[in-house]
């Protein structure tokens, strides 16, 4: 979609980095223009009018002007700053993880409204969700679907037969499930319990409201996380950086030795 010289859009700020003395480069995600890198000028000075309106993980309404290299944010009005999120380190870090995934999986200027909607809904839900891990798994599996990486969970990716209700195998490289007979068809497969398979199907097909009826015990939650992490790492060909910090926060505190 061609942009006019000055344009208005809603946006979620995915990340920011410093530029020069007082500016920041923002990576924002928009409903109709996809991902955009733009400059917020003077924003590090405490009197900047943009100030908290261009903070990381802000949902706001922005005016942008096309620049020579990067577009320039001329105005920003906060729609939602997700304030309760910001005073909870774990939830903030989970929201940063969803923003990093969107940043890493998307190219600039490619519209993908479902991704925008999913990100916005997920960040809102993180604030009150009791099982944030389940929410993150729903986010991951839906995001992959919207980007063309929907994992195959109905039939064996090798022999194409419908999966039996037994322990099957998940292949990151094959992008889906292998039946026990075909499990050697792909390298580095991992066992996928029947319960995990059922939950993944549910998360893939349902809105989060529906999906949140299923309760995940700790073992199942860990299994799903490991499967999704291996699949995401395989597609991106590298680790998602903010995952390390999530792991760090979950580790029993090991500094007071």
């Amino acid at each position: 979609m061609a942009k006019p010289r000055v344009y208005k859009t809603e946006a979620i700020v995915l990340k920011r980095s410093n530029l020069g003395e007082a500016d920041k480069i923002l990576v924002i995600y928009t409903p109709n223009l996809g991902k955009i890198r733009a400059v917020a000028k003077g924003v590090r000075r405490s009197k900047s009018k943009l100030g908290g309106n261009v903070e990381t993980l802000i949902h706001s309404s922005m005016m942008l002007a096309q620049g020579r290299n990067l577009d320039i944010i001329t105005q920003s009005q906060t729609i939602d700053s997700f304030l309760p999120l910001r005073s909870d380190l774990w939830r903030t870090s989970c929201a940063l993880y969803t923003a990093e995934l969107v940043d890493r999986f998307t190219e600039e200027h490619i519209e993908n409204y479902p991704v925008y909607r999913l990100l916005l809904d997920t960040i809102k839900n993180i604030i009150e969700e009791e099982d944030v891990n389940r929410l993150l798994r729903h986010f991951e599996i839906r995001l992959l679907g919207y980007l063309g990486y929907k994992p195959e969970l109905k039939t064996c990716i090798h022999c194409k037969k419908a999966l039996e209700p037994v322990e099957n195998y998940f292949s990151a490289s094959g992008g889906g499930t292998l039946c026990p007979a075909c499990r050697l068809a792909e390298p580095a497969v991992r066992p996928l319990s029947l319960n995990a398979l059922k939950v993944m199907r549910l998360l893939q097909q349902s809105s989060y409201q529906q999906a949140s009826r299923v309760k995940l015990n700790e073992g199942l939650s860990k299994e799903l996380e490991a499967i999704m992490r291996s699949y995401i790492t395989y597609i991106l060909e590298r680790e998602v950086k903010s995952v390390q910090f999530l792991d760090e926060l979950r580790r029993p505190q090991n500094y007071q030795s």
């Binding site: 908290g52 380190l89 903030t92 910090f245 500094y255």
Partner: protein
């Protein structure tokens, strides 16, 4: 882009070096280089020596991690200052800003960055272990968290607060609110909410 091939090697080399500096693009790098070219030799030599001196004589204070020419630094060495209060800042420049107020007489600890998960910068990349060792050995009564009031600064403050909590030391955070000289109508939701929360008896 500038064509480096047609430029004499020493000049293109200096342009490339300037270009590596933060906030300096190829055009500014070329402008600085040609400015230096016209400079008296004495001035150029003084600049080069100043650059080297910074690298040779400046180190991190082993106590507070601030940049210094003597270890411990002049602040850590000052017995007039209150060593039971430690103010935690992101960068050495933040110390200069707080010192300018002349309202703080405690000591500092410089983290040299903030936690930024998406950039792969975690607690181990900051001077947090040094902080913990320090407050366990010294008699610290209060920690002031003076990281920047943005998402990364808040996350870092919360992380440190969590680590220190079991030690039973008082932890405070710089008040976050409206900037002096600004207009209320331009204040964003986060700033205004924090200003309301931090309101004081008048």
């Amino acid at each position: 882009m500038l064509n480096f091939q047609s430029t004499p090697e020493p000049i293109s080399r200096l342009i490339e070096e300037f270009n590596k500096l933060p906030g300096i693009g190829p055009k500014s790098a070329a402008r600085l280089t040609y400015y230096l070219l016209r400079m008296p030799e004495g001035d150029a030599r003084a600049l080069a020596e100043a650059v080297l001196a910074v690298k040779e004589n400046v180190m991190l204070c082993s106590v507070c991690q601030n940049i210094t020419v003597a270890d411990p630094c002049s602040i850590c060495n000052n017995t007039q200052r209150d060593h039971s209060i430690t103010c935690i800042v992101e960068e050495p420049l933040d110390i200069l800003a707080i010192e300018r107020t002349r309202k703080y007489s405690g000591v500092y600890h410089v983290l040299h960055g903030v936690i930024s998960p998406a950039d792969g910068i975690g607690p181990d990349d900051l001077k947090i272990k040094e902080l913990l060792t320090r407050i366990q050995n010294d008699d610290v009564k209060e920690i002031i968290l003076a990281t920047n009031p943005n998402l990364e600064g808040e996350a870092t403050a919360m992380y440190i607060q969590r680590l220190i909590a079991p030690l039973g030391i008082r932890v405070t955070r710089l008040a976050r609110g409206l900037p002096a000289g600004g207009d209320l109508e331009y204040a964003d939701e986060i700033t205004l909410t924090r200003a309301l929360e931090g309101r004081q008896e008048f």
